[in-house]
Symmetry: C2
């Protein structure tokens, strides 16, 4: 077993503290990755505080991982020692169900092995995430990372990037289309960059006028103050696609009305309470309300390659791991533009 250092929380009301644990010895298909950077995702906080229920403690969060390969198993073909590697929201799956076979492992119908707060395929051994010095992952669930991009800025692509890229691709967003982005946070800022890179005309819909300048800097072509009914009305029936990244309660019908006929609004944020949907908001223009969950390994690799080619990365604030608890508080207040990334060398030796 490999002694590993990290930060863990012992329970829903605890803070993150230094934690020592063990990783498995790399098997024939595994790579051992020295973690360089790990992003802080809002879902880390939800799970660390057991807000979704069923959390497993002690918990080492983190699923936006970029590191360097330091050892490879005897059968590993895709990675060499010294190369960059990435790990996202899951590190294994059943590999046999229809979804796994289609490369949509995120929808595995048997058992998706989450990077942390989950269990291995034995459904017993807990998994520990990226707020740690190293990780062992099957090469088939490990992503290749281009050396062209700064690795700290790449880390958030492993969750925030793929979560927004996947629905944009699935619903065929492209040139000539009008795309709305609701919620300018970690996910929203990636949605702007990606939709703009794909050639769409991007409009940010925000409750805060103060975000307009930043929205435009990130690539948005237009900005709508969503609490102003007149502005909203002027954009009725306008958008082909809206990506809704808000996880707080909000009025979905106000946004559905902005979709043109056959338009699609995709939820990637999960508000704690049900959202109210007026049937006529959908029926009158054959509109669609969809949801989308991260992405599969194949599509995550495609997204990383796309980002390397189009020079798309996350806007980040790098912190030492000793500031992780403070970063959680600031994330909850929306006080980050737009993702905290932990510099893992600050773990020390």
């Amino acid at each position: 077993m490999l002694p590993t250092r990290g930060y863990a929380t012992k329970g829903p009301t605890s803070v993150l503290e230094p934690f020592k644990f063990e990783r498995r010895e790399p098997g024939p298909h595994d790579v051992l990755i020295e973690i360089l950077y790990c992003g802080i995702c809002h879902s880390d906080i939800h799970q660390a505080r057991d807000e979704w229920g069923g959390s497993i403690f002690p918990m080492v969060p983190g699923h936006e991982i970029v590191g360097r390969v330091t050892r490879v198993g005897s059968q590993v073909k895709r990675f060499k020692v010294g190369e960059l590697a990435g790990v996202g929201c899951f590190v294994d799956s059943c590999r046999r169900c229809a979804s796994c076979k289609e490369g949509l492992e995120q929808y595995c119908e048997v058992h998706l092995v989450l990077t942390y707060n989950g269990t291995e395929r034995d459904k017993k051994t807990p998994t520990y995430g990226g707020y740690s010095s190293q990780i062992v992952v099957d090469e088939n669930y490990t992503l290749k990372i281009s050396p062209k991009l700064p690795p700290a800025n790449v880390a958030p692509l492993l969750c925030a990037g793929i979560t927004t890229y996947s629905p944009l691709r699935h619903f065929k967003v492209g040139p000539g289309q009008r795309v709305g982005v609701v919620g300018l946070g970690g996910l929203g800022h990636m949605a702007i960059k990606l939709a703009a890179a794909m050639g769409a005309e991007v409009t940010v819909l925000s409750t805060s006028k103060s975000k307009e300048q930043d929205a435009r800097r990130l690539g948005a072509h237009d900005f709508v103050l969503s609490k102003d009914p007149t502005s909203l009305e002027a954009h009725a029936n306008r958008f082909d696609f809206i990506l809704d990244a808000v996880s707080a309660p909000h009025d979905l019908n106000a946004y559905l009305r902005l979709l043109r006929r056959d338009g699609v609004l995709t939820l990637v944020g999960a508000p704690p309470k049900p959202l109210e949907v007026r049937a006529l908001s959908l029926i009158t223009k054959r509109r669609t309300l969809a949801g989308s969950n991260i992405g599969g390994i194949r599509e995550t690799q495609e997204m990383l390659d796309y980002c390397a080619e189009h020079n798309v990365t996350s806007d980040i604030e790098v912190i030492p791991i000793q500031q992780v608890n403070e970063a959680y508080e600031r994330t909850l207040k929306g006080d980050v533009r737009y993702r905290f990334v932990i510099d893992m060398k600050t773990l020390g030796v």
Copy 2:
């Protein structure tokens, strides 16, 4: 002008009574149709009682019309005197917007001329529906009706038929797919027949065990008692497509959970209050919630031809027009299998 007899209501709390009014003289592109049968749609009742707001009185309801052509304008090409003809939910549209040009007139972005409780393209002249002796309609908004089918049973196809056919086609329902139908009423019974004709495996989801026998007679392969959580759970992640024809408040999440990955639930009924949708019901399996509104002229003709070819019609109870008010009360109680159709010759002379 053409003196016309019908039944109208004078206001939201009135009953339907004999009413005399005038139709326009047929123009060069119009056909004059002697109405043989007109179906009673639940939406007739909503509008007659002004439950959706904005109703125009006096109102002659009725948009499931089958009749015989008795006169044609000088430029009419598609109809001859003596032929059967049908009229559905609208009798004209702007003809210039993107939706009209695509043959999706039901989503006309300028002004859809509803068959009744609407106004002509001048946005002033009120329209009167099918509870009447005759109607004048532009031939481009008139449907051809096969003499192969009994015309009384065809009438409900003009609304209940196309409303269910259109989403089944749009979402590409076909052989090998599992389709759920929620709500066994006027729309639901057509959905069963049509989905079965298209080769799908059809399951009826109903709160009433007493409907099982009828569901199977109509073509359903399976029946699920939707108020039994165990039965529902056994069908989780099973359906490719669910058509929800319920216009009463109901728990949508219970049905969304029955969809497999990438499955679609389409609403064709419009409950008066918003429906609660859990974001995770959609996100976890990339499910889609959609709405669909009747169909365009091209697709309505396609549906009528399809029904003639596959011998699909509505189950009906024919009534004389003098029983229309009683039929409304029985419709509200669900006491009809599955559509009232008015025999218009009972209007007398």
